[in-house]
Symmetry: C2
């Protein structure tokens, strides 16, 4: 069965939305903490542009990663779990087929 043709029940969509939102807030919170910490130690132009490079990369990465269109969610969740921003447990309530596909993708 193709990965992109999975149907999502209303309840599953709610679980997915909440897990997605939690992961985003978790990554954002860590990024805010990193920026606050880095900003306190900047002392020269190299430090300043290094902070700018970090923000450019992070923005590009987060804009691309948090894609909540249903056909992409299986891949997004696998990527978030691999990145440490979500655990598979937070997706409890999704059907077994989706959970096993996500788990398999995290091992690739």
């Amino acid at each position: 069965m193709p990965l992109l043709s999975l149907d999502w029940s209303v309840e599953e969509q709610q679980i997915a939305h909440q897990a997605f939102k939690t992961a985003y807030e978790r990554e954002l919170a860590e990024t805010l903490a990193q920026v606050k910490s880095a900003a306190q130690t900047i002392a020269c132009s190299e430090d300043l542009w290094k902070l700018h490079d970090f923000l450019s990369a992070k923005r590009h990465e987060m804009d691309g990663k948090y894609d909540d269109r249903s056909p992409m969610l299986i891949f997004v969740f696998a990527d978030l779990i691999k990145g440490g921003w979500m655990s598979l447990d937070e997706l409890n309530g999704l059907d077994e087929q989706k959970l096993s596909k996500i788990a398999a993708l995290t091992r690739m």
Copy 2:
């Protein structure tokens, strides 16, 4: 006499270099203070990307503005004086022709 054909004595080059360096350090110090201050108040993604936008614009502006090639210095100094990063007094020791050209450019 064309603006770009002005000759710079060794002494004038030293004065220009020092004034240029001082203005750069002054603008950098203010930028560092702005970033440290802004970073302490960021609380959401909009704040974070606003800080990123500020750094992108500042980097582009400073990379373009601080051009220390001799033919450009008259324009660079006029721009720095207009921006508040340098005063005409800091260029004392340059010949009168250069000072009057810079002063004229600051009024444009």
